[in-house]
Amino acid sequence: MSREKREIVTPSQLLGDTNSSKAGRGTFIEKGKIYSERMGLLNKISDFINVIPLKGRYEPIEKDFVIGIIEEPLSSSWLVDINAPYPALLHTNEVPWDVEFGETDKYLNRGDSIMAKILDVGIEKNIQITLKDQKDHNLYKISGGYITNIEPSKVPRLIGKEGSMITLLKKYTKCRIHVGKNGRIWIKGENEKISKVLQVIKKIETESIYYGLTDRIEGLLKKDANEVQ
């Protein structure tokens, strides 16, 4: 099994120059040279140089699926914590219910969790989220289950290529798992299975910088499945 490591870069590390390559995410240009702007993993795709962050706050992007926790019901909206630097606004027009003015707390109250989609991110980073989406039926208030957090930068690793990792996890544990882009994960299933999922998530998070992780996780899940039988 390949345990090859990717290169870790520090902020201000010289990565290349603009003549031979293009500056991608996590980099900045100064005097024709490309530098890294954060701790991260070096990732070169064709002639783009990217730095994938290892750590850091979630940066909201439109149409992202997120798991939020209600911070405060206002008279015609809710303030929702989505793990971003700023709270997001959920307006009563953006929920599937018919909410009377001033009765927002009858539907969603402080501490409730929701699965939502980011509607809009303004220039001043005013975030709006929605529970209404014709195409997506996965937006609703969460009841039961377990919510855990990982680094938002490691979400793509948990999902895997075209969802390979997460389908694997669902297949072997028979849990319902929803992964928000903001690093919150909702798991519902039997208690033992949930703890299994949490264990695997922890492993994925710590080993995310190695290649060939999906195969190893599959091996691990298979082994455990055999033991149970």
Partner: protein, 252 residues
């Protein structure tokens, strides 16, 4: 009057046995606090400093927000037990000044326009002080910011140089020596102290303060020496960061 301490001998050896261009021993460890976004513990001689970074998060109070960029709030604090004589806790004139200059130095390297309306808070706690705590604090803050994954143009690094031994045993004036990284006695009985912070990638100066008197030639010499020191420490900072992430992986 008590006889003056001889800070540097004729061979150019200092009180603690260092040469003029030698640093005290430095140990840096990144990611020591679990609840902070990023953190760093730094030992520099007998200085012991912890830096913690929180944020970016919404700036409170609201009137302090900047609609175009994040504000950087550094707080430098000396613990009551950090010095020989108990220090009265809480912010005083000195620590407020240091907080301000460190905030401004950090603001220069952080890419603040990525987080409008937000605040990035940096807490620097001095657990044990020997001399040069502002340099130690700023160096630790730089590592903590990088550990927090905050986008920045460089990891800031600070170091001091100074002038010692300009009086002989009889109080007569002699030339004096420009030395790197003043120790406690050298800071108290020396002639000048010049702490600087730089952005090591392009050598830009982020902070420069001076206590005492230096001639122009001495100043130039001290500045060059301090920059040399900064570049050495910068390497240690990067090593500490890389090591933290390597260890994270090898634990499994």
């Amino acid at each position: 009057m008590e006889q003056e301490i001889k800070l540097i001998d004729d061979d150019g050896k200092r009180l603690d046995g260092r040469k003029a261009d030698e640093l005290r021993e430095i140990k840096i460890e990144a990611g020591v606090l679990h609840r902070a976004e990023g953190s760093c513990y730094l030992e520099w001689g007998n200085n012991k400093v912890v830096a913690a970074v929180y944020g970016p998060r919404e700036a409170i109070p609201r009137h302090s927000q900047d609609p175009l960029k994040a504000i950087v709030r550094a707080r430098y604090n000396m613990a009551a037990f950090s010095v020989d004589e108990r220090k009265r806790p809480g912010p005083d004139r000195r620590s407020r000044e240091i907080s301000k200059v460190i905030s401004e130095a950090l603001e220069k390297v952080i890419i603040t326009n990525k987080f409008p309306r937000a605040a990035i808070e940096v807490n620097i706690e001095v657990l044990e002080a020997e001399a040069g705590t502002r340099c130690a604090g700023l160096t630790a803050a730089g590592v903590a910011l990088a550990d927090a994954g905050i986008p920045m143009k460089d990891i800031p690094v600070a170091c001091a140089a100074g002038k010692i031994g300009s009086k002989d045993n009889f109080g007569k004036k002699i030339g004096g020596n420009i030395v790197l990284d003043l120790g406690k006695q050298e800071d108290n009985f020396g002639d000048a102290d010049l702490p600087i912070a730089i952005s090591p990638r392009n050598g830009e100066i982020l902070l420069l303060q001076m206590d005492g008197h230096l001639t122009v030639e001495e100043f130039d010499k001290a500045l060059d020496l301090a920059i040399k020191g900064c570049n050495i420490i910068s390497k240690l900072q990067k090593e500490a960061l890389l090591q933290k992430y390597q260890v994270d992986v090898e634990a499994y």
